[in-house]
């Protein structure tokens, strides 16, 4: 199918998700946090993470309109196309991201959520590319893997909506073509 090679196997990811689960369980002892998945790519990670947390917590999702340089169909500014179902005032919110890169989308989400007065707001991301950050003031507290400047598919990540269901994380070789 030509996607390249496996970068992280399903077993390696499972091991790391279990470790993250233990860390988060310890840090949120006595609390009932709300996990917020930023769609779409995070849905596989969130599904595994929620099962690695053996204490009471809630799950919700948001989705952002993606940037497009297409002048006909694009929106002029980022916005939520799916907002949270309930208020987060006074809640302990843990944003679940698939990857943090420049930090631009996460920065928007954090800005938006802080206005709603949560008790706490932290971020867990499966993958991180800290060297590409343009925005530093984002609370990335838990990182699964720091990864090189490559394009990934599988484990929720797609190439033109394909390959999200692959259990392993693959590196796509060559220039991306759609």
């Amino acid at each position: 199918m030509g996607v390249g090679e496996i970068y992280l196997s399903a077993e390696q990811i499972a091991t790391r998700v279990a470790e993250l689960g233990e860390e988060i369980t310890a840090d949120y002892a006595g609390k009932e946090p709300l996990l917020v998945g930023a769609l779409k790519a995070s849905f596989v990670f969130l599904a595994d993470l929620t099962r690695a947390l053996p204490f009471l917590h809630h799950v919700d999702f948001v989705e952002l309109a993606g940037y497009t340089s297409d002048e006909t169909g694009g929106t002029p500014a980022v916005r939520l196309i799916k907002d949270l179902d309930a208020s987060i005032e006074g809640r302990d919110v843990l944003l679940v991201e698939d990857i943090v890169d420049t930090g631009l989308t996460l920065h928007y989400l954090v800005r938006t959520f802080r206005l709603r007065s949560p008790h706490s707001l932290e971020v867990v991301t499966l993958l991180d590319r800290p060297y590409r950050r343009l925005v530093e003031d984002i609370p990335v507290r838990y990182v699964g893997f720091t990864v090189p400047d490559e394009f990934f598919v599988g484990y929720g990540f797609d190439q033109a909506e394909q390959f999200r269901g692959l259990p392993d994380l693959w590196i796509v070789r060559g220039s991306p073509v759609v």
């Binding site: 002048e71 002029p76 980022v78 890169d101 631009l104 343009l134 925005v135 991306p176």
Partner: protein, 211 residues
Amino acid sequence: MFRIVQLSDLHCGQQFFLPQHLERAISETNELEPDVVVISGDLTSNGFKDEYALARDYLNRIECGSMVVIPGGHPLSVRRPGTWVSWFQLVSEIPDFQAYRGTAAPQFANEAELECAKVLDYYGLPWLYEPTTFVLEEDDEGRVLEAFSPDFYLPEQDLYLEITVMKQSLVTRKNRKLRKLRERYPAVKIKLFYKRDIERLGQRYGLKLAS
């Protein structure tokens, strides 16, 4: 040594326009690794939009960070005689920016810069265009010998952003400037973004990379 390349009379679109000559001029220019490229008109024969688009496509392939382009009196004698404009600006549609914090309209030098501005604007991150010129070298009497104006400044992040359309292999001179800047102004935060990075920022290929 400081290298200046001057090209003139491209006349894109004319019936006598021969692409292979311009192709050769572009590759010879790139081999010289010039500091400045001056295109001293005329870009087009008749000033039609698709002639400018053709000229833009050729000039985009010149690998030089500093390009001075004078569109030329010939195609523009009616509308803008003798005016110096950003040639890129001339052939592009510049949107109204929301997060731009400057006063004068930014004069983008190329498509990568415009794309970067669009992305920053989309995410509502305040930005300025070339607000600061850093002196890198002076002579004994304080005359400026070398200076550097990074393309973008993000005031909330206190971060400068330099966009380069050059290939990674041809970027040594720019890296030297960045190194000088960092030595002389250690408190200044600056990042270098390649054209490729901007394309990915803008998800031009529909790929989720700029999270």
